[in-house]
């Protein structure tokens, strides 16, 4: 086990190099010259543009740019943004907020998705099952910006129960609504995955055996059905943490959250390679660690799975 975990950590190195190289290359391939956009519609003089390209190493060939970036990282210098801010400061600012938000969203979709999915699976074909289906359809078909807007307008503006935006007040109360909006689509996935797994496992041999042995229904469900149904759900949730952190662009916009999604989006649109690569590298690490955690959980949920 320890060897397995150690090996996984060693794999971080090639993944780090591969991911940074790939992403740096993609930023390099972005269409348009980012410096030309700095002057807005007025444009920018050739002399000034040339100097700015030099300052941000944009006049170097791709591999040189990448190696300069890597070199910087080893001395903990992640580069600077076009506005002169250290990228490391950007990361220190956005990751804590986003991490809180993503974890809250994950908890929301995990608790409610698994809960609703379990009940729906146990009562397959009944009223609750159909209601859950309709609920997940709404969440899938109605775009995030609508869900966010409606929730913000009703709960935040009209009823005044929760603050409509986050801004500088990052706490549980302000993040509650954004977390629900952010987790909404994944909630539908978790609900459907749980429901199907539960329904499937209900008819498994070991459940019948357990029931036949006289094990109580709640124990059958909790220990046998649910535990064996959780593998796909846990897999999904594990990989979703990173997606929630990176993909909250719309939610962050609606609730004015200063997080990873929006920062990354703007950096991409503006062609700011150091910011994009640095933020993404952290995200790769988040994916790897949460997927490792999920792999270890497999062994807990299903004793037949063993890692050497």
């Amino acid at each position: 086990m320890a060897w397995y975990v150690g090996r996984r950590f060693l794999q971080l190195i090639p993944v780090f190099l591969g991911a940074t190289l790939l992403i740096y290359a993609m930023v390099f391939l972005l269409p348009g010259d980012p410096i030309l956009a700095l002057g807005g519609d007025r444009g920018i003089s050739d002399a000034l543009a040339e100097r700015l390209r030099e300052r941000y190493n944009l006049d170097e060939p791709f591999l040189v740019q990448y190696l300069l970036y890597l070199k910087g990282i080893f001395s903990l210098d992640f580069g600077i943004t076009f506005s002169g801010e250290e990228v490391i400061d950007v990361m220190k600012r956005v990751f804590p907020v986003t991490f809180q938000l993503a974890v809250m969203a994950l908890l929301f979709e995990g608790i409610f998705g698994i809960g609703f999915g379990l009940i729906a699976g146990l009562r397959k074909g009944k009223l609750f099952d159909s209601t859950a289906l309709v609920l997940s359809l709404i969440v899938i078909a109605v775009p995030t910006f609508v869900i966010g807007f409606v929730l913000q307008f009703v709960v935040g503006v009209k009823l005044g129960w929760l603050p409509p935006t986050v801004g500088s007040n990052v706490n549980f109360k302000t993040l509650l609504m954004p977390a629900i909006v952010l987790g909404a689509v994944s909630f539908a996935y978790v609900l459907r995955l749980t429901r199907t797994s539960v329904a499937e496992n209900l008819s498994a041999d070991y459940v019948r055996t357990a029931t036949a042995k006289g094990v109580s229904r709640s124990r059958v469900i909790n220990v046998h059905v649910l535990r064996n149904s959780l593998i796909p759900v846990v897999t999904f949730l594990g990989a979703d943490l990173g997606s929630l952190m990176a993909g909250a662009i719309i939610t962050e916009g609606i609730f004015n959250i200063n997080g990873v999604g929006g920062t990354l989006y703007r950096a991409i649109i503006q062609g700011q390679a150091p910011t994009v690569v640095s933020l993404t590298t952290v995200l790769v690490i988040v994916y790897i660690l949460s997927n490792l955690l999920v792999d270890l959980l497999y062994a807990v949920l299903d004793p037949r799975i063993r890692y050497a």
């Binding site: 972005l30 269409p31 348009g32 010259d33 980012p34 410096i35 030309l36 956009a37 700095l38 002057g39 807005g40 519609d41 007025r42 444009g43 920018i44 003089s45 050739d46 002399a47 000034l48 100097r51 700015l52 300052r55 076009f82 506005s83 002169g84 801010e85 400061d89 950007v90 600012r93 910006f145 807007f149 913000q152 307008f153 935040g156 503006v157 005044g160 603050p163 409509p164 935006t165 801004g167 500088s168 662009i249 719309i250 962050e252 916009g253 609606i254 609730f255 004015n256 200063n258 929006g262 920062t263 989006y265 703007r266 649109i269 503006q270 062609g271």
Partner: protein, 546 residues
């Protein structure tokens, strides 16, 4: 200045100006400050994270401009109507519109105690103009003698006479030079700035009505806190306990905050609320014309749109084919005013009856007729497109304009979307230079005034070889009129000359004028005395909050 694109999902065209904070209590004398009673509440308002450190000569966008205009005082400031009044300047004099003598009032101080002297201005302008300082607004110093795009050079046209006097020599006569001096690029800097300009950019030391609330008042991407500057000696004295500018990624979020009284003043209503904000806010809604002009530019290099008879006919036909009244009414819900010229109604000298302006009316028959005439010269082929950047909320009107053209002229027309603004700029630049480019047709264009003068809407956009002349337009007669107007020291006759120049534009149509952007905004129930200036920015120092 340009109309800044606005990153963010539901963002719409920003109306927030490059804040020339035209704040005034109405008069030009400093006596009646706080006569209307001051208050102690701190006002919250919307803004954007500045894209650059807060150095006046390196700030060319809305987010930083709004802060600088509150924390600095220049030689002049603009009142609500865009009229300039002396602020730090005692007098600005010239006989020939080329050599200026500028005298300063005494007693002005920066917030670190330094005196504001002639040197504060001359050093700041030299810093901004120097090539190796890489300042984005350096082009503002281009008219001053000694400026160079090639190498570091001193502005030899600037001479310090004594502590409170300096002279400026321009390369050529420019009568609206004094008018420009309220723009942020011309603000003074204290000596302390040059010791460590990077630190200064994070904690600027100014001489304006407000100052930063200590070190770290600028919380990046979140907000910046400004408090009244007790040493401020001008007319824009703060009548409130301070201004906190909260940074928003989307105007929708800011609007939601306004509706729930979490935000006091908003200067940009999101397009999703265009239809409803006036009923939701009642008399707290603001919707008035602003110094923002919008158009689309048709490059002369395009097939069918060259500098010839066919090109002119097609441009005229397109202009007649656009129903500006209906589009501003339905798509913009009355938050745009159909264009009558190439400038803006808030600028002194504006006229809605320049000969040739009838080309801006909607006339399907005439449009079809002109188009047919052009077809007789050379048959039309292909599709008419208007390129736009998708992060600026332009899609709706581009769709409406192309639909209008399609319905009237019976040709295929649609928008050409660019996800990356830099990509659009690169393509426009390449197309201008005759290089390979994805740009298939026209591109959206617009202008927000740097200072309230007609020339500012014409020279930079349509002068031969000018920086923002995206269509490669060139007309000797037009250039000559521009030059004549610029050197005319009589404002009225200068404006008449500029209107003559516009007559030429109406014939050639290098860009098709669409509409003037209104400033749309509103304020919460907690504040009073909210008034918006000519440049779309609220007059913050006058606002009271208990």
């Amino acid at each position: 200045m340009k109309i800044r694109r606005f990153a963010g999902f539901a963002a719409s065209l920003t109306v927030g100006a490059l804040a020339l904070a035209a704040c005034s209590n109405g008069g030009s004398s400093g006596e009646n400050t706080s006569a209307q009673g001051s208050s102690t509440g701190i006002i919250t308002t919307n803004g954007n994270e500045p894209q650059n450190p807060l150095i006046p000569t390196n700030t060319a966008e809305v987010g930083g401009g709004k802060i600088l205009d509150l924390t600095f005082a220049g030689l002049v400031y603009y009142d609500a109507d865009g009229a300039p009044h002396n602020e730090v300047a005692e007098s600005i004099e010239s006989d020939d519109a080329q050599n200026y003598t500028i005298k300063l009032k005494s007693g002005w101080k920066f917030t670190n105690g330094e005196d504001v002297t002639a040197k504060s201005f001359v050093d700041a302008w030299n810093y901004g103009a120097k090539l190796s300082n890489e300042q984005l607004s350096s082009y503002f110093f281009e008219p001053i003698e000694g400026f160079s795009w090639e190498k570091d050079s001193e502005l030899t046209g600037l001479k310090v006479v004594d502590d409170l006097t300096f002279t400026v020599k321009l390369v050529q006569p420019e009568s609206d030079f004094p008018l420009r001096l309220g723009y942020s690029a011309f603000y003074p800097l204290p000596e302390a700035a040059f010791e460590d300009i990077e630190a200064f950019g994070q904690n600027p030391i100014g001489n304006g009505p407000y100052k930063l609330d200590g070190e770290g008042a600028w919380e990046h991407n979140t907000q910046i806190k400004l408090v009244p500057n007790a040493d401020y000696a001008g007319d824009r004295k703060a009548k409130n306990g301070g201004v906190t500018i909260k940074f928003y990624e989307t105007q929708d979020a800011a609007y939601s905050d306004l509706l729930s009284d979490q935000l006091d003043v908003l200067d940009a209503v999101p397009d999703s609320a265009f239809a409803t904000f006036e009923s939701e806010l009642g008399d707290r809604a603001v919707n008035q014309p602003a110094a923002v002009f919008q158009s689309f530019t048709i490059g002369e290099w395009l097939d069918h749109f060259g500098d010839d008879e066919e090109g002119k006919l097609r441009r005229q036909a397109l202009s007649y084919a656009i129903d500006r009244d209906q589009i501003t009414k339905t798509i913009f819900e009355g938050t745009r005013t159909p264009a009558k010229d190439f400038t803006s109604p808030v600028i002194s000298g504006w006229s809605d009856s320049i000969p040739g302006a009838e080309v801006l009316s909607f006339d399907p028959t005439k449009a079809k007729d002109l188009w047919a005439q052009a077809d007789a010269i050379k048959p039309w082929s292909g599709k008419f497109t208007i390129a736009y950047n998708t992060d600026g909320g332009h899609k709706a009107w581009v769709d409406a304009v192309t639909n209008s053209i399609k319905n009237v002229l019976g040709i295929d027309a649609e928008g050409q979307a660019y996800a990356v603004f830099a990509d659009l700029r690169t393509d426009v630049t390449a197309a201008k230079a005759g290089e390979k480019s994805k740009l298939t047709g026209a591109n959206r264009s617009g202008w927000q005034a740097d200072y309230p003068g007609l020339y500012n809407f014409l020279g930079p956009l349509y002068g031969t070889g000018a920086g923002s002349n995206d269509g490669n337009y060139s007309n000797e007669e037009f250039d000559a009129l521009l030059k004549q107007g610029a050197s005319d020291t009589n404002q009225d006759s200068a404006n008449a000359t500029f209107q003559k120049a516009q007559e030429i534009l109406f014939k050639d149509l290098p860009a098709i004028p669409l509409w003037y952007s209104n400033v749309t905004g509103g304020y919460s129930t907690l504040v009073d005395n909210v008034k918006f200036g000519w440049n779309s920015v609220p007059l913050y120092s006058d606002i009271t909050k208990q």
